[in-house]
């Protein structure tokens, strides 16, 4: 009995140590984001516990959001990029998944295999050709350009996953809907979409995180101009051009984390499903 108890204690201590190691870096950033420039460069963030004077200021947030860096604008841009870049590929993929699963047409199999095979193409491959095409039709730097790019890069996976789900739905309900005179479109809208909610939600969470946290696609197709840039590319510009303005960087990093962290905490269970589902993102 005694040995078991000691191993319990050891396990709990180890777990506590791990929690500490995993959280300390984030706590450090959080504390730093409330310290002024002077304090940040003169002493480590941990000194606030022993010497709390001048520790707390909201200046960094005020400056980074509404000052020259305009992260408030970048926050809005990120929203404008993310929401459609999540909904559009899911909608398109759901239509395609239904078509592949429940409609008959020549070339169905080979087209579906092509979609799955495209999972291996890394998006890096597409950057130059797509950018050239965008520049030719003067589309680069618009939200539409980024939405469609994210749709393109997420669509193979989304179609594959939603196909797996939608093709497993019971055949009888779809057939009886057809017998009742429902068109494919009606069946899809009234029956398939509501029934597929779990799969749609899982993929949505995954795609949301992916788009919100993406740097490469947004930087390439939207650019780093302050008007249109998203938060990740603003943050990278801040680390590069003025690496010493740490106080702003910390506040900026926190602003960029708030939404995904809240989504994460609120939807943790679905999140796991979404990650499992999204595990093979190309």
């Amino acid at each position: 009995m005694r040995t078991i108890k000691w191993s319990r204690v050891a396990i709990n201590l180890t777990v506590i140590a791990l929690i500490v190691v995993w959280t300390v870096p984030t706590i450090g950033l959080f504390i730093t984001s409330f310290r002024d420039k002077q304090a940040i460069s003169n002493s480590g963030w941990w000194t606030v516990f022993t010497n709390p004077q001048g520790a707390f200021t909201l200046d960094n947030y005020q400056k980074v959001l509404f000052g020259g860096d305009g992260l408030a604008t970048a926050f809005l841009n990120t929203l404008a990029v993310t929401i459609p870049a999540v909904v559009i590929p899911i909608l398109i993929a759901a239509f395609a998944a239904y078509g592949f699963a429940w409609m008959d047409f020549p070339g169905r199999r080979i087209l579906f295999i092509t979609v799955v095979a495209l999972l291996v193409v890394p998006l890096q491959i597409a950057l130059i050709p797509v950018l050239k095409a965008y520049l030719a039709i003067d589309l680069n730097g618009t939200f539409l350009a980024v939405w469609l790019a994210h749709a393109g890069f997420g669509l193979a996976l989304a179609t594959y996953l939603l196909y797996n789900y939608i093709s497993q739905l019971p055949k009888d309900i779809i057939e009886s809907a057809a017998l009742d005179g429902a068109s494919h479109f009606t069946t899809f809208r009234r029956l398939i979409l509501p029934l597929s909610m779990p799969a749609l939600a899982s993929f949505a969470i995954f795609q949301f995180l992916w788009v919100w946290n993406d740097l490469l696609v947004a930087t390439t197709f939207l650019g780093t101009d302050q008007d249109v840039a998203v938060m990740t590319s603003r943050l990278v510009s801040m680390t590069g051009s003025r690496g010493q303005d740490w106080q702003l960087l910390t506040a900026g990093a926190f602003v960029s984390m708030i939404v995904p962290v809240m989504v994460f905490l609120a939807l943790q269970r679905y999140f796991v499903k979404g990650l499992l589902a999204g595990s093979v993102k190309g």
Binding site: N77, F95, M103, V120, T142, A151, F153, S183, N213, L276
Partner: protein
């Protein structure tokens, strides 16, 4: 409903009426898509040049984007349903799968072919150079370092994230703090690599000796009387330290996914093993690991794909300086800083070739387990 209409015999009508109805239908069929198109186009132009407050632009953009796509499907379907039944049956499937196929063709299929082609040409895409860009990729010292770094990322990132995730999943399961631990260790997954890089700057920060150290690692060294180390400038330690950021972010993912699989291992089997005299280690090694092996493979391959394509951490931490560059950062640099389309393309193709077997393996494990 359309089909029911088609079956019912239409009431007899005069020729003029039929003609008028036909012309009316055609006119409406043209009118509706044109209106849809004009509305979307007007929205696009407005969004492009509007001087409205950002918040208004953003709201309009969201509604326009999502509504626009939905509207295209509705209009396409509406048009198709105007067609005779046989044509409807032929065209409707392509209304459903067509947009996805078109987008995939434009964003993945054609670019892959174009990039493969461009990788055989020089910087401007003018002169055919055969495999020179590939030879360059594997011989130029900077490139060789990048490839070495990617191998480091692949091996250390994958092994440590997965291994620690597995160990933690087993540990946390037996602890009272399991829920708290899972949430906190999993949390970095929600943070972008760029955000994570900012966090870790405060761990790796370095000031010359004598000045106050604000980086955690150097402060700890200082507490033991050891001199500060410039962590991010010396290779290959700097790449390893960047990999630590990835491990910090991905271990929680590995832990949660593997933890879910652990719950599925039947207790009776483990008990039987213990009764037969197996030590805890043997139970773990011989019973637990084999039964969750497919999950471990899925997690490992997923992280492996991530490490092969790693870009954000390197860009945000060192900008690829101090020999921390990887294939993806060099590819970007070649393509968009040096405007050498050929070399950039060759690197992209190398990336494709590197990830293909991993994704193929991942998919095989993954099949039938989706969602």
């Amino acid at each position: 409903m359309e089909r029911a209409d088609a079956v019912a015999t239409p009431p007899p009508r005069g020729i003029a009426q039929v003609l008028a109805a036909g012309v009316g239908r055609i006119l409406v069929s043209i009118f509706v898509p044109v209106v849809a198109f004009v509305v979307l186009w007007a929205g696009f132009l407005w969004l492009k040049d509007s001087g409205a407050p950002r918040i208004v632009i953003v709201l309009v953009a969201i509604v326009w984007g999502i509504g626009g796509v939905a509207m295209l499907y509705v209009v396409a379907n509406w048009l198709t349903e105007k067609l005779p039944a046989t044509w409807q049956g032929r065209i409707l499937p392509f209304v459903f799968v067509g947009p996805a196929l078109a987008i995939l063709t434009f964003y993945l299929l054609v670019p892959a072919v174009l990039t493969a082609w461009a990788s055989l040409f020089d910087a401007n895409g003018q002169e055919f150079v055969g495999l020179d860009n590939y030879v360059y990729s594997f011989t130029n010292p900077e490139m060789v370092t990048a490839i070495r770094n990617n191998v480091l990322w692949l091996v250390f990132g994958t092994v440590f994230s997965t291994g620690m995730g597995l160990a933690m999943a087993v540990l946390v399961e037996r602890s009272r703090l399991d829920r708290l631990a899972k949430t906190l260790i999993f949390l970095p997954m929600a943070i972008s690599f760029v955000g994570a890089s900012v966090i870790w700057r405060f761990v790796y920060s370095y000031q010359p000796e004598g000045q106050p150290q604000v980086g955690l690692l150097n402060a700890i060294l200082g507490a033991f009387g050891l001199g500060p180390v410039s962590w991010l400038t010396g290779e290959p330690l700097n790449t390893i330290l960047l990999i630590v950021i990835l491990i910090w972010g991905q271990t929680g993912f590995a832990m949660v996914i593997i933890g879910a699989a652990l719950k599925g291992v039947p207790d009776e089997m483990l008990e039987a093993g213990r009764i037969d005299g197996a030590t805890e280690w043997q139970v773990f090694r011989r019973l637990i690991v084999p039964s969750i092996w497919p999950t471990i493979v899925t997690v490992a391959t997923t992280i492996a794909i991530l490490t092969l394509k790693i870009y954000d951490i390197v860009t945000a931490m060192t900008g690829g300086n101090f020999n921390t560059q990887v294939i993806a950062t060099l590819m970007w640099k070649q393509a968009f800083t040096f405007f050498d389309a050929g070399r950039g393309a060759a690197l992209a193709i190398i990336l494709l070739v590197a990830v293909t077997p991993v994704i193929w393996y991942n998919l095989r494990q993954f099949r039938g387990r989706a969602i």
